[in-house]
Amino acid sequence: MTFAHYYWLSLALYITAGVFFLAGLVFVKKDAGRAGSVLAATGLLMHTVSLGQRWLQTGHGPYVSTYEILSSNTWIVVLFFLLLQARLPRLRNLGAVVMPLAFLMMGFALVGSTEARTLSPTLLSGWLVVHIIFAKLTVAALIVAVSLSVVYLLRATGREVKKILRYELPRGELLLDYAYRFVAFGFVTMTIMIVTGAIWADTSWGSYWAWRPTETWSLGVWLAYGVFLHGRVTFNWSGRVVSWYVILAFLFSILAFFVLPFLVKGIHSQYMVG
């Protein structure tokens, strides 16, 4: 079997896991949630094999094309979620939101070419590994925060939705407290990502900051999350404001990191778009 076969297998398992998590949430079946976890873990295993095979084939990590970036992002999101629900089993059925986001990313990954690409000299650096790892941790943390916000909003929408989502997820404000924690974690990892990117740029080109589009957009995203963390302290933001902010800030970061590289030529578009 090739990496593509394992990829499709993991995709199928993630979709099934998502269905089980949703069933657990709606029909109050704890077993369904557990089955969802097992399926997601099996999917992760298949996904790991797929990424490993691809790594062996290309000779570099999964970070040089839309396909590789989104595939590895999904991998870390699922891993992050599985570790989270192992530690906080009450958040298990959050998988009903996380898994659809995961397989959506895998779907988008297939939009790009799966052809193997070579690494440019700039990318042959140890800083790349640190930069990429923290970028992926940022994505994982922010997706979990978005999922928590979505669940909060669904629960706050009205009684009808509450009737459907009968599964005992933590109460509303606690969900937002977790969302806040994940945003804070994502903010720290994003800072490390930007800092390592700046140090790497200095090592490669002799300039730690040159107001290139990607640098400037990443600073914009950093400030957007900074506004959130500040707002929570200054105005005691809670409830829907927090949920909507987390969702909108995430959409903004998607625009900055994943959409703009397709419009603007630069170092990020070079490895993402080609």
Partner: protein
């Protein structure tokens, strides 16, 4: 004055400033992006064009706003830090105070443990100490009081975070005053002696430039390799350096991501490389002009060593296409020219404005080509590579700022102080426990309940 200071250091004002800074940064990002897009206004995405209507497409205007916001931000930061230091002391005093029963009962997180037998305060002390708390005890008016504190240093995280920005301001200023970048090209065997005017391209001379002639560099060998035509694998070179004391340094390998430091200069392998052809042009009157033409490798298609030049004093654009067996010496391109062709030649095509291109012939190495009263002579061809030199005293300060930034964020968000106040009344048969955490207060409720339950079980047993 106090009111102004209070306003400038207020959370609401700093929030407003960050929001403003976000707006400026986003606009700056859009402008940076536009620089890469088509100059044709209509081809720019609608989102970017929308901003133009408000006059926000002017980098000068944006820079003014940016510097004004940043200056106010700096002033606000100064007053905020002052306030934080003052408040930090007051908070420390408040938090290191023991709480009596009434005070504990007023807390959001508190509980009472009733016990048949009074426990010793030492048992409670040990319970908290085992969980990483620092415990102090005091005798109240009618109760034994305990205070358990964990991760107390965490309260300095936010102050440290704000101080970081002063380092960034300082580093930015140092960069502004000392930074310069120069660019030069070398062929194997050639030497570059550093002077400001010696660079082919350079940034404006900074306020503090310092001495010239910091180094002399001779290129020994170009080590360029390709994955395949058009895809560079590594750009590297072997160089010999002499520093400002005329000390000859050991031969060094310079490559992308592996710069060399000489004195306060850092030399980087740059991205332009290819071949330089020396050409002499002679017109009918016998006027001679010598010049060099660069053919760049590493473009989208490495097959094309193509360049356009306009001959001086004419309206004639020449399309020059180089073919040379020197390409075969580059790792990864050995099989590229499969023909047995040796030597170098330039295919010459001319084009005048509004006319069809005309193929003029082939210019062989050492040979001549004549057309339109002009004679071109192909003198020589040599490979070249390029280097960038930077000097920036702000980098060290900025990087120190990065370390402090990360440290402060980790302390702020992962080293959150927790405090528990315990009061033992009725000879210790009633234990009042209250707790607080500086951040993540909702989830602390769960932690408090768990810890209090553990304490209850511990004391009961």
């Amino acid at each position: 004055m106090k009111r102004i200071a209070r306003f400038l250091s207020s959370l609401r004002f700093s929030f407003f400033l960050i929001l403003l800074l976000l707006g400026v940064i986003v606009q700056r990002a859009i402008l940076a992006q536009r620089a890469f897009l088509s100059p044709d206004h209509e081809k720019v995405p609608m989102l970017a064009r929308g901003f133009d209507r408000f006059g926000l497409n002017s980098l000068e205007l944006l820079n003014t706003i940016f510097w004004v916001v940043l200056s106010v931000f700096g002033i606000s930061l100064f007053f905020t830090v002052k306030r934080m230091i003052r408040q930090g002391r007051a908070r420390r005093a408040a938090f290191s105070r023991f709480r009596d029963v009434d005070s504990i009962r007023e807390m959001r997180r508190h509980m009472v443990i009733a016990l048949p037998v009074s426990p010793s305060p030492e048992t409670i002390k040990t319970f908290f100490q085992r969980r990483g708390f620092r415990v102090s005890a005091s005798d109240g008016a009618d109760a034994g009081l305990l205070l358990a504190v964990r991760r107390d240093l965490g309260r300095w995280g936010v102050l440290l975070f704000h101080l970081t920005f002063f380092l960034f301001f300082l580093g930015g200023t140092a960069s502004f005053l000392t930074r310069f970048t120069g660019y030069f090209e070398l062929a194997p065997g050639e030497t570059f002696t550093e002077t400001y005017d010696g660079y082919i391209q350079k940034t404006p001379r900074p306020v503090f430039f310092g001495p010239e002639h910091v180094f002399t560099m001779t290129l020994e060998e170009i080590r360029l390799s390709y994955w395949k035509p058009g895809e560079v694998r590594q750009r590297a070179a072997i160089v010999r350096l002499t520093d400002d004391d005329n000390t000859v340094l050991p031969v060094k390998n310079i490559s992308v991501n592996n710069p060399i430091r000489v004195g306060d200069r850092k030399i980087y392998q740059a991205g332009r490389h290819g071949f330089i052809a020396s050409i002499t042009v002679t017109d009918e009157t016998g006027t001679r002009a010598e010049g060099v033409i660069r053919f760049l490798l590493g473009r989208k298609d490495a097959a094309e060593l193509l360049t356009w030049v306009r001959l001086p004093g004419t309206r004639l654009d020449l399309k020059l296409e180089l073919f040379t067996d020197m390409v075969r010496r580059i790792e990864g391109l050995e099989d590229y020219y499969s023909s047995p062709f040796t030597g170098s030649l330039i295919k010459v095509t001319s084009q005048e404005a509004g006319r069809e291109p005309v193929f003029r012939g082939v210019l062989f190495g050492g040979g001549d080509l004549s057309f339109e009263g002009l004679t071109l002579h192909f003198d020589s061809l040599k490979p070249f590579t390029s280097f960038t030199v930077t000097r920036d005293y702000g980098v060290v300060i900025i990087f120190a700022g990065f370390v402090l930034l990360l440290l402060s964020l980790c302390i702020t968000y992962f080293w959150v102080p927790e405090r528990f106040w315990i009061a033992l009344v009725d000879d210790g048969r009633k234990v009042y426990v209250g707790g607080s955490r500086e951040r993540y207060k909702e989830s602390f409720g769960e932690r408090f309940a768990l810890l209090a339950d553990e304490l209850r079980k511990n004391l009961a047993s």
